[in-house]
Point group: C2
Chain length 423, copies 2
């Protein structure tokens, strides 16, 4: 990709209302832009590249769960199933509601428990045990009319979520499913993205159900407060524990066996797992006939969300420096930004571009602007974007590699050795 063709208009200053680093940097570097209305975000070409890579990682880890299949549900729904589960009234102004031309009561789905439960009930009637478990997920837009949209992608009114809904024949199997999904989430964060997340015991809120965990990025801009043991396994949202930061860890299940100290930390919630039991399957009649029984029982459900756009913002919150964003390689918009220094041989710059393009394809961004744009401007832009490597073709014919995360530089003398240093 050539810099001159990329829809990329870096700015020195962030919008006046941008207080957090992710809001500032993602808008300054034109990854995202506020749309027509508060909390509505346009995903620009750089942001789209990050989003596509993150979604591909999530899809591959969801598909790796045996039987897990991807679908897409509509955003618009009538109120009918939501009245049956009593959430039409329980959820207040956070739901976008509208009426169609026939005056039908409708909504923009803020989550899809009702839709997936009705899908399973409607397709199967009584679900045959041979079809269980059923695991269905989607990645799509969700709508919540937040009172105070804030911090860019961290609290938006239209945003992208991955949501998985599971249907099992017993509580025991549903809890096995729960563990499987939590392990997939941990793989996504720890192994694929290389980000450290906390898994905290949590409240079920208006989802219902009895067992719930949140996945958090530790960050001072977070709105959740998590209490964790400094040496052991205990970790819980302050909403569900009476323990306090500074106390000794008295949680009986903690691996510290009482030796740890509790620490309070601010967090951004990026994922949530709910064991739902029969809260949705009972009113919406998603049922099966248990082994040895003759009459149908409601299925045991779970629901599992990942805030896709919020993960992007959280990564920027926790991975940036004063020059800009530092992307994990797995979701960087480009792996390499190539820049020619003033006085560098134009032919060598072209050759370098051709050689790296052959090896890295669309992962290479070439700053093809002429020498009327200063070297420092080109480096400022390259660092702002946050690609893992910046390659500078020097006047001497040597190549300088700047590793974005450490800002350390190294020199390569020969073009034929350059590619192998960039992974």
């Amino acid at each position: 990709m050539l810099r001159s063709r990329l829809f990329f208009l870096p700015r020195k200053n962030a919008p006046a209302d941008a207080v957090t680093a992710s809001h500032q940097l993602l808008t300054r570097a034109s990854f995202f832009r506020q749309g027509q209305g508060a909390g509505l975000w346009e995903t620009l070409p750089l942001g789209k590249r990050v989003l596509d890579k993150l979604q591909a990682i999530i899809v591959s880890e969801m598909d790796a769960i045996e039987g897990c299949q991807q679908v897409e549900m509509p955003s618009l729904m009538t109120s009918e199933t939501w009245r049956k589960t009593k959430r039409w009234d329980a959820i207040g102004q956070e739901m976008f509601r509208l009426r169609d031309r026939k005056d039908t009561e409708m909504m923009l789905a803020p989550t899809h428990e009702e839709a997936f439960t009705e899908l399973v009930a409607g397709m199967h009637g009584i679900v045959s045990r041979a079809h269980l478990p059923i695991y269905l997920y989607q990645i799509g837009r969700k709508f919540r009319d937040e009172l105070r949209p804030r911090a860019g992608l961290l609290r938006a009114r239209e945003f992208i979520m991955k949501d998985l809904y599971t249907f099992d024949e017993s509580e025991k199997k549903a809890l096995e499913t729960y563990e499987k999904v939590c392990r997939a989430y941990e793989r996504i964060f720890n192994e694929r993205l290389g980000c450290k997340v906390l898994k905290a015991a949590a409240d079920s809120g208006n989802m219902g159900g009895t067992y719930s965990h949140e996945f958090h990025f530790e960050s001072p801009v977070g709105e959740d407060v998590v209490i964790k043991c400094d040496t052991g396994s205990f970790c819980a949202n302050t909403e569900v524990t009476k323990l306090k930061g500074g106390d000794s860890c008295t949680d009986l299940s903690c691996s510290c066996k009482g030796s740890g100290k509790l620490v309070e930390t601010k967090c951004i919630e990026v994922g949530h797992a709910f064991y739902l039991g029969t809260k949705y399957s009972a009113p919406l009649a998603a049922r099966f006939v248990p082994e040895g029984d003759t009459k149908p029982s409601p299925l045991q459900m779970g629901s599992y969300g990942l805030g896709v756009t919020r993960i992007i913002a959280s990564i920027v919150e926790t991975s940036h420096d004063s020059s800009g964003i530092i992307w994990p390689k797995a979701i960087a918009p480009f792996q390499i930004v190539l820049v020619g220094a003033p006085g560098a041989d134009a032919r060598l710059v072209s050759e370098t571009f051709a050689a790296l393009k052959t090896k890295f394809g669309s992962e290479l961004l070439f700053d093809d602007r002429g020498e009327n744009v200063g070297m420092s401007s080109k480096l400022i832009d390259a660092k702002l974007i946050g690609a893992p490597f910046i390659v500078v073709v020097r006047k001497t014919g040597e190549f300088e590699i700047i590793e974005r995360s450490t800002q350390q530089t190294s020199t390569v003398k020969d073009l034929s050795h350059l590619g192998s240093k960039l992974t």
Copy 2:
């Protein structure tokens, strides 16, 4: 993929309101299911596989247009820009309108001319000529409150579109862009999907602009009527020509030079190209300074839509038989369905599955149900799904290949020769 794990519940009968073949077959074979409300469709796992493949083809052809870049716009918008272009009032009940908790006038975008024009104007201020042309597209959900949603995916209220918006510095360049996009559309339909489409001169409707073409699948269930010359190049929607079917072709630009006869044919519109001029760029101030000029002028725009979900339905309308769907290979949910005949050696069936899985990966669907499910049921399901090849492992140890499009069968004696016959 194992049949027993696939979220696939084939039905003998279509919903009572399903009149067209695509509505009947796509619901009977569980590719799509009606959601909560008329004209709202759930994309089930089989449909998602088709949709993903079609979207990947469209993305690759859009990205092949130099400078063309993908973005994602929100579905929700305030009314402000739509009031400036006068479409807030011009479009009536077809627009889903709502108010947020602060009583802001909002809508679900039925198309995104306003959003993209405002994006370009807002990001650039006055666009530098060095940045032109700007080509931005997205694939996403559109919302139109149709009076009579009908025929399944053919006329839905929430549906998937690819929409591209182009910004050029002159009418001449905008028309060159127009031709480029039309050629990309022809490649998508003719080369990638192997579908014959008509390109017809068309009306601009409420889009504005002065030059417009539609892309059509010929089909008796279509709602458009196109007049075309039986031997020449003339082709136009009846909305824009006074010529009538049965007449001699008197269109002066037609390649038949007066020798052709005009034919009327019913069509499904699947794509639309609009040269928009300055209808949106003038009121929304998307401007640049022309060469040799000092004051800014509005950019010359084009907008280009493809009805993604409608293309899927149109392909089924024009490619099916009494047994089910016949997918083009490029978007078939699976390339191969594997079935073991009654009495076939279980070990050979497993070996065949393993061998084909190695070669075809996730393109293979294995009907792993036991012999309690009859052979004819398995073949009925396999044909309904519409994969290009059905492979039956016979009792004799031979392999029967059924080519779905012709229903012709051939026999392969040796497993090692099977894979090469399936492309």
